[in-house]
């Protein structure tokens, strides 16, 4: 999440026309306190039962956690980019993500 925070302007256009939703099975209060402590500029969603994780093929039933999985959804609601798994230590994963977001926004 620190990489998303530190590259928020470049990857997510600083939140203009772009919404980043970080989703985990954590309780909503735990996500809020973490977001405050770390100064995250984006929104977290609490999927405690893992139902949305299952819907998106991210839920790992053995650990009851979501695997790192990333989707870019275009303005019309269509999935335009997927990284499953999202390789958070690989710099090219962020390059690909930034390019996909830019393309979804119409290359602006």
């Amino acid at each position: 999440m620190n990489a998303y925070r530190d590259q928020y302007a470049q990857l997510f256009n600083g939140g203009k026309d772009v919404t980043l939703l970080a989703i985990s099975t954590d309780a909503v209060g735990d996500l809020a306190s973490w977001a405050k402590d770390a100064g995250y500029p984006f929104t977290f969603l609490s999927d405690t039962g893992g139902s949305v994780g299952r819907l998106y093929g991210a839920f790992n039933p053995a650990f009851r956690l979501d695997n790192r999985t990333l989707y870019v959804v275009g303005p019309d609601g269509t999935i335009v980019h997927r990284a499953a798994p999202f390789r958070e230590v690989d710099p090219t994963a962020y390059t690909d993500l930034g390019a996909a977001v830019k393309k979804a926004r119409g290359g602006q």
């Binding site: 999440m1 919404t19 998106y56 999985t69 990333l70």
Partner: protein
């Protein structure tokens, strides 16, 4: 024997799909959902994906709060 092997293989595929669904395909419609939200300002209103139509939305699933990455 061949049929038995095929039945076993199909059974394993069925079990696999029950425990972990495959990721969604690029080009498909993102399924709608509503979930409780949180920001640095505290616990917020529930967020519905369909309400964000017209914006580019990045869904980033991750393991657990207060872990690296």
């Amino acid at each position: 024997m061949r049929i038995a092997a095929l039945t076993l293989a199909l059974g394993l595929v069925a079990c696999g799909s029950m425990t972990a669904q495959a990721p969604l395909e690029v080009g498909s419609k993102a399924p709608d959902f509503t979930l409780p939200s949180a920001t640095a300002a505290g616990v917020g209103k529930p967020v519905r994906l369909a309400d964000l139509k017209g914006r580019t939305v990045v869904l980033a699933f991750f393991y657990k709060a207060r872990t690296g990455g």
